[in-house]
């Protein structure tokens, strides 16, 4: 019954492993950049927005508009319009490294909104409490915001990683490498249905593992429902 599966694995196993390694390399780098930039932007969006504790719309409004613009552009079109920028930055518009640029941009926009949402769920009185203790701004963020939002942030980051994996399959269009490229070249253009199914099954499995790990980690750090 599963002969086709073993047959496909024996023929393409090596290529599939390399493609997965490329995908996770792209996603890891893009997520690393998104984590830093997206968290910082998300903080500004939530803490400097209208009525927020550090209200300063001169920062939050332009960033909010920029994030909305990035999120409005379909990823495949973003890849295309970013090609000249990638060429300027790294000398080529194709391949893994060019893909990482677009993935980092869309990842940053995604993470920033997820961080904004996670912080919005914090009890607003906590900011008054921090102020009443004479907390400095970085202490408000470090000792209150990140501590209370860590569970929501972990779930948000998990969601962002899974979105990046999905986006990474699209970069096959610009010969970006990874599992998407293999699926497109061998699975679609060569119409290799068994290979397509093997890739889909492996993708399902890896996303399940990431989500389960993220959820378990979020539950572990969340003390709001534990003794």
């Amino acid at each position: 019954m599963f002969d086709w599966l073993f047959d496909t694995w024996s023929r393409f196993g090596g290529e599939i492993l390399i493609a997965f390694a490329e995908t996770y390399y792209m996603v890891a780098v893009a997520f690393g950049i998104s984590l830093v930039l997206g968290t910082a932007i998300g903080m500004v969006l939530s803490l400097c927005g209208r009525g927020a504790p550090f209200e300063n719309q001169a920062y939050s409004l332009p960033l909010s508009v920029a994030v909305n613009i990035i999120r409005s552009v379909p990823f495949i079109l973003l890849l295309i319009i970013m090609a000249p920028f990638a060429r300027l930055m790294i000398g080529t518009a194709y391949g893994i490294y060019a893909s990482m640029i677009s993935l980092s941009i869309v990842g940053t926009a995604n993470v920033s909104r997820l961080v904004e949402q996670a912080i919005a769920d914090i009890n607003p009185q906590l900011f008054q409490t921090a102020h009443s203790m004479g907390a400095k701004r970085y202490q408000v963020i470090w000792e209150f915001v990140l501590v209370e939002a860590k569970s929501s942030l972990i779930l948000g980051f998990t969601s962002a990683i899974i979105s990046l994996i999905a986006y990474s399959t699209v970069v096959g269009v610009i010969a970006g490498g990874g599992i998407g490229y293999l699926a497109l070249q061998e699975g679609f253009y060569m119409w290799n249905q068994p290979l397509m199914w093997v890739i889909i099954l492996l993708m399902i499995l890896s996303v399940q593992i990431i989500q389960l790990t993220g959820s378990a980690l979020a539950r572990m750090v969340d003390k709001k429902g534990k003794s």
Binding site: G134, A135, F144, V147, K224
Partner: protein, 246 residues
């Protein structure tokens, strides 16, 4: 200790400018328990926010611990002044991902106090409020009364000169209210800390306060000593029925 002179505060809403406080002048003397009462929207919370330096008045002078506070005050000097006081909020406002001990020690952590020193002081305060046995618990496991005791312990850990109490018993049942009020009285007697108590219920201020400031439409309607009550009456369920011989 704190002096306000001709203080006013307005807020801008969609409907236009709303005046929350008008021409408020009074002084808080060291060691007293001052009650602030008034109907909803009378300006109690705004006044408490001004006194606790969470907001700066639009007009008038505010002197806190002998120092003038205005819009030009440097954030660092404001923070330094704020650290002379502590606030207990109605909703306890604990950090739920920190243990009771970590919550209590948090104000000291913000001031860079060494872990062993701050935890020893936090334990001392938890003993004072009778919750040293719950030091390792997370706030989600506490009752409302216990959570407020932790908030009180946390407010005392820095030895504040003045304690602001923003309706600290509004979220509690009458028996727990009595326990918290007795704890606050014990705090006042033990540490001689000045207290400013915003309350909805007149019984609470009669039981707690030396003087009361009554706000009406953002103005002081009355300010002075009150007839104190030594009892805080708790109605029992049997007391409320018109006829219980059914």
């Amino acid at each position: 200790m704190i002096t306000v002179n001709s203080v006013s505060k307005s807020f801008t809403t969609k409907a236009g400018s709303v005046s929350a406080l008008k021409d408020i002048s009074f002084a808080i003397t060291p060691g007293e328990i001052l009650g602030i009462v008034g109907k909803s929207g009378a300006g109690k919370t705004t006044l408490l926010r001004i006194l606790s330096l969470q907001t700066i008045p639009d007009e008038g002078q505010l002197r806190f611990q002998g120092r003038e506070v205005d819009r030009n005050a440097h954030p660092a000097s404001l923070r330094e002044l704020v650290q002379h006081s502590a606030t207990v909020f109605q909703g306890f406002s604990l950090v739920y991902n920190r243990t009771v001990l970590e919550n209590t020690a948090l104000p000291l952590k913000l001031r860079g106090v060494k872990r062993s020193v701050r935890e020893a002081k936090a334990m001392e305060m938890l003993q004072f409020v009778g919750l040293d046995n719950r030091a390792g618990a997370y706030p989600i496991t506490l009752s409302g009364g216990e959570a407020q005791r932790v908030a009180i312990a946390r407010s005392l850990v820095t030895d504040p000169a003045i304690l602001f109490l923003d309706e600290p018993t509004s979220a509690l049942d009458s028996r727990t209210t009595r326990e918290i009020l007795d704890l606050l009285k014990k705090t006042h007697q033990t540490y001689s800390v000045t207290m400013v108590l915003v309350a909805h219920h007149i019984d609470v201020v009669r039981y707690m306060c030396d003087r009361v400031l009554f706000l009406e439409n953002g103005r002081i309607a009355q300010l002075g000593p009150i007839k104190k009550s030594t009892e805080f009456h708790i109605s029992k369920i049997d007391d409320i029925w018109v006829d219980c011989n059914v």
